[in-house]
């Protein structure tokens, strides 16, 4: 099957109530590695991810995948900052995307049980998902996104407000997914996480794409004063 990447954004912008909140952005998301989207609060990190995933429609400009949109949509997954838990058990939450795509109930349940074991939660398979801890819920949300083996995975600050242990587990799962060739786009506030995981950095400021490039080059020698100030921990707007 041909890759859905690259994704091209051409003069993409999003406005709400007559006010532009993102763009115009020209950007191409290539076929490998883990891109980290960073920037101060309100820079447009979540909005950019939602636009790329199709949860928002651009007010102007266009996004184009390498394949028809219908095929591209099926090859993506998204993990939200606040994990959305269906009012079902852990295993049923995991099996849900498989059931939507038409997999038989028993087969979906078996795959879900395997994933529950991989998460170290096999003993809690029948437990209502909302009873899990915050870290477990986010792990479950990530596994539910990974279970369909998407080609590209978007994550919107998945470890915000998680403790170190849970963050490490999430990052380990992301590392495995990346090593298997999954394309990952991660928005984060956590600069330590960005340094640990990024192959590429996308730096947003004030709704615009301010700087982008390989992670090593960005962290060691940012090209713009704003990016350098942001990395120093200064307040940039």
């Amino acid at each position: 099957m041909s890759s859905i990447l690259p994704l091209s954004l051409r003069k993409v912008s999003l406005s709400r109530g007559g006010k532009r909140i993102l763009g115009p952005i020209d950007f191409e998301l290539g076929g490998r590695g883990l891109s980290v989207v960073i920037g101060p609060n309100g820079a447009g990190k979540s909005t950019l991810l939602r636009l790329m995933h199709g949860l928002e429609r651009p007010s102007e400009g266009a996004l184009a995948w390498a394949v028809p949109l219908k095929n591209a949509r099926k090859a993506q997954a998204f993990v939200f900052q606040s994990p959305v838990m269906l009012r079902r058990s852990l295993v049923e939450n995991l099996a849900f995307p498989l059931r939507l795509s038409g997999r038989p109930r028993t087969e979906a349940a078996k795959v879900a049980m395997d994933w529950a074991a991989r998460l170290g939660l096999s003993g809690q398979g029948d437990q209502p998902a909302w009873q899990l801890s915050r870290g477990e819920r986010q792990k479950l949300a990530l596994a539910r996104a990974l279970i369909t083996e998407p080609e590209i995975l978007f994550l919107d600050e998945p470890t915000a407000s998680l403790d170190g242990h849970a963050t490490r587990e999430i990052e380990a799962l992301l590392g495995v997914a990346r090593d298997r060739g999954m394309r990952i786009v991660l928005a984060t506030h956590d600069m330590g996480q960005a340094r640990r995981l990024a192959d590429e950095v996308v730096f947003l400021l004030g709704g615009s794409l301010h700087e982008t490039g390989p992670a090593k080059a960005f962290f060691h020698g940012p090209q713009t004063a704003a990016a350098a100030a942001f990395l120093r921990g200064d307040i940039v707007t």
């Binding site: 995933h53 199709g54 949860l55 949509r73 099926k74 993506q76 997954a77 998204f78 939200f80 959305v84 269906l86 009012r87 079902r88 849900f96 995307p97 939507l100 209502p128």
Partner: protein, 234 residues
């Protein structure tokens, strides 16, 4: 006071003795009301879910009309349905007037807006919670609605019970289209009306007690079956 106590005593005797007339009236009440609730739920719940997930031009107007119809006066429904089903009415040929079917139709008309409107309220909250996930997973419209109905089933149970309570206690419409014919269309509420008018308070009270027991008993049974307390979600 003595009359009331005597009425309670007589009512207890009728219930304990399983009076055949009492049982027949009770069973017909249950048949009519449960059928109406099932039909109204099949119409109202998917309609409520659809209104929650789909944005279209007349959506707000439909929601406003449904909310308004929640207070539909049963007597007006009965009168309207009587005119439709009477020999001179457009549906007269169906021969449904003064039959349990006419009573079911009346109850469906009365409780469908209630079930649809309350379902919409429940689904709207659930949709706000699930929207991004379901859109992200590319769920089709029918999958979205099915998910909302399944995950909102406990709220829907309460809504179904609300519809049941409204329908089983209804008298204004069904007495007009049913006619309160003994052995054919006499149900608990119409029988209570008749026996009170006749002065047979014991029988009226017995019927009233059964009506209350039905409403409370069904609610308890459904809560137990749905394990609402055990799973801690209500």
């Amino acid at each position: 006071m003595e009359t009331i106590l005597d009425a309670f005593w007589q009512a207890g005797r009728l219930i304990v003795a399983a009076d055949p007339a009492l049982i027949a009236i009770t069973l017909l009440s249950l048949r009519v009301t449960l059928t109406a609730v099932v039909i109204a739920a099949l119409i109202g719940m998917p309609l409520g879910a659809f209104l929650a997930v789909k944005r279209f031009r007349w959506r707000r107007s439909i929601i406003a009309v449904l909310n308004g119809l929640m207070g539909l006066p049963p007597v007006v429904v009965g009168l309207f349905l009587y005119l439709m089903l009477s020999r001179m009415g457009p549906l007269g040929a169906l021969g449904l007037l003064f039959s349990p079917s006419a009573m079911i139709i009346a109850q469906v008309i009365i409780i469908t807006p209630i079930i649809a409107s309350l379902s919409y309220q429940a689904f709207r909250e659930l949709w706000a919670e699930y929207r991004d996930l379901l859109l992200s997973l590319r769920a089709t419209r029918s999958q979205q609605i099915a998910t909302l109905i399944w995950d909102g089933r406990r709220a829907l149970l309460t809504i179904g019970l609300t519809g049941f309570g409204r329908a089983i206690g209804e008298v204004g419409a069904i007495i007009i289209v049913g006619g309160n014919i003994e052995g054919v269309t006499r149900v608990l509420t119409t029988a209570i009306t008749l026996e009170t008018a006749r002065g047979d308070f014991a029988l009226a009270l017995a019927l009233g007690i059964i009506l209350l027991m039905l409403a409370i008993g069904l609610s308890l049974a459904l809560h137990t079956l749905a394990r609402t307390e055990r799973e801690g979600r209500w």
